[in-house]
Subunit: 252 residues, 4 copies
């Protein structure tokens, strides 16, 4: 165990709060907005204007999707633990696991590996898609139960990448992968928003293994509105009733 361990994140003295070397009260509050700070605290540098726009676009994409396990759980918990709002929000983000929330980072890892190892990108895309098809797993970032043939969020996100002239190579590789997915499937498969965000977040410097953190922040923000609506409308108890009515008990 290292005996002289340090933290480089923050601390307080009587007249200062220091955050990664910056004076919070003098240099950050009122001078930097929340999303700049999110970028700074996560990546240890401030974003340029293009990076900030992309991060905002991805966060806005993630905030709200109506009924999801996340919003259902948050509303049930808000109904049962009304005095401690953070419990409903925490419960609602706990469900953001590998199955639904893991596809952004999964797609990002494929894109990152493809660029890092260089070589023939056609062959790389072919191999990636073949491996997923062999194990009957969807390629992360592809397929959507509702958005067919096109995920409308992807159009906006990729248009932003063009407009900002992001040139890290992730977007072209994603498009190439998308064409190969279609070719092997013998039909068009939706490139979904998690795929587009994977490319955009790589472009602005986020490593795959913290991308889920951004989803959590964005979704937590969206849950506030659900909790407000729950306090007015009590959907949680109706969902409970629906479960009892539509999935009845039967003796084993």
């Amino acid at each position: 165990m290292k005996t002289d361990m340090k933290t480089h994140i923050g601390h307080s003295t009587p007249d200062r709060v220091v955050v990664r070397g910056h004076d919070l009260s003098r240099d950050l509050i009122g001078k930097r907005d929340f999303v700049e700070m999110l970028y700074f605290l996560s990546l240890k540098r401030f974003p340029n204007p293009a990076q900030l726009r992309v991060l905002n676009a991805c966060l806005v994409t993630l905030m709200e999707h109506g009924w999801t396990p996340s919003s259902i759980i948050a509303r049930m918990t808000a109904d049962s633990v009304p005095e401690e709002m953070q419990v409903a929000m925490a419960s609602g983000v706990l469900v953001m696991g590998s199955v639904f929330a893991g596809t952004t980072e999964g797609c990002a890892r494929i894109l990152e590996t493809g660029l890092k190892r260089g070589g023939d990108r056609d062959a790389y895309c072919r191999d990636v898609v073949e491996e997923h098809r062999a194990t009957k797993k969807p390629v992360p970032g592809f397929g959507h139960p509702v958005h067919k043939p096109i995920d409308p969020r992807v159009i906006t996100l990729l248009a932003m990448a063009d407009e900002l002239k992001l040139d890290g190579g992730y977007v072209p590789l994603l498009k190439q992968l998308s064409a190969e997915v279609d070719r092997q499937a013998g039909k068009h498969v939706t490139l979904n928003a998690t795929g587009a965000m994977a490319a955009l977040l790589l472009e602005i410097g986020f490593p795959p293994d913290i991308m889920r953190g951004l989803s959590v922040v964005a979704r937590a923000a969206g849950l506030i509105g659900h909790i407000v609506e729950e306090r007015e409308a009590h959907a949680a108890r109706k969902i409970w009733n629906l479960a009892e009515e539509h999935i009845p008990y039967e003796n084993p």
Copy 2:
């Protein structure tokens, strides 16, 4: 149970995602930033520029405080559940309960009640402080273990309120309450950041009972950096060792 219950938050069709009546891909992604959307989803209207600045200032104030129960817990959980980052973040926000995180809303309720009932504000402040002193509870928003005599964040936050000419009356009432706290204590007591945020968030339209949601979003964002540092530095195991060493077992 209402049979025709509706939600007014969001839903998806094949070519659209609708969020509170707005088309997500066409009108929100790239057009509104994350903090505007946080305001909109929470309060059902978009903020004006002053409201947006204040909300950003409050969120930035809340994001990062170095070692706290929140960061310690998130790092311990990240060390033990490395593949599911949302678990560490959820665990780190669960601890934001009535004791530490509840003071913003507690102070806000005092300010809101004071303005709503009208009448003599001197008497109101005197009564509030007396009641708290009688039960030996600190007035929410006052006192700080480190920041004495002045919380440096409060200076910045209240200067912003002046600059933006916020005129809802909450800031003057907070200052009056602060003077009364000092008078009854017979010494200066720090007005802390949670008190200043209570006044500012009321000024921009947030009701007290969702203020904790903002703390959760801000802290969740700050936890990403702690999890990144934990993956490099393994403070969690050192803290575990410190507990074992400094709080040893003794037979009952």
Copy 3:
């Protein structure tokens, strides 16, 4: 901050694990069952046979209730975070808050206060019921949406109290309170299982402020079966669909 703080719970040395002064391997594993240990770890003494029977009866009462917010949430989370089973279980117990799970301790506090202050029990019960009626709150431990006029679990639990001749006075006071609830309501109101457990757990020495811990342990155990069924039957996605279908979106 106390500098010589100790813990009296447990620690390990190379050849021993000590738990509250007992050698785990030599004296506890195989010698004491789980519920004896739960009593011992919570109350610092071992139960007698009657206390052990009562604790088992209360735990068995609490374990399983079919569809509840707890089981719905655990199943949704198990579906989304399949590799980390503890997340589903934790999420399912987070919802056991003041609204549903708090009634046992609420009723227990009423019974404990009534015995401690002595005096006229008729007057005490009358005052308690009047206060609750004045604020339109149900007396904790009374009322049930399904079990009318009698909660079948209460019969079994109170019969056990009789059989074991529990004589701490809590059960008679509960019955007296029940009669007063009926009298002021002008009709019979169900005495529910949380009320009966409040009396029984007080009889065996549990203070009200840790009773919820027992509910958490019992419910956590019950959730294992739900997670097993979810892996086979995927009710979580059906419940999600039901929410979308029966609580549709409408523009605000």
Copy 4:
């Protein structure tokens, strides 16, 4: 989506609670103890006396280990969210992830696979250990930072397996694996309690993929005692102070 989905776990009618076909009030409360019910709800059949003894022994082994991430987190959360005890308990079990709690199921999968595929067990054990050594991963169930050369709990657990004449073959295979671990390491490596529990829980019918559920139930029970001690002794704030003092901030 199946339209006629059923649950086989439980439901309530006005005068009955049914749990997997049994009447809770008439047949279970007072007739079955908590651990029998835990077995029944998890595996859909009641245990025989030997199975019940083994399950109790494993649960008692898991309940309490002094300072762990689990107890530290639960105590910090109990200090900050005092009114909602389930939050501290949930937070304390969330940390029971793949790193620490996953070794029981990892070892169990090795033992289960070894028996299922039949064939040469020497070769199987040799391959398993070689594969782990090749990737520098410990074989799950082996190694311990404190218990050297022998984990005292393992002696008790394996003696119980002998006494009860468990004959499913898992214990002999575990011993064979242990010998092979030692042979390839060129020294004795501790067979730890999670390894012994893996064999015993397989013997009594638990599949590996719900073993973590048992750890959660056992640890949840142990956390009650920590929360009680925290309310008296406030170790959480001391641990926070220790982190600040021993892992100080340094500018990046």
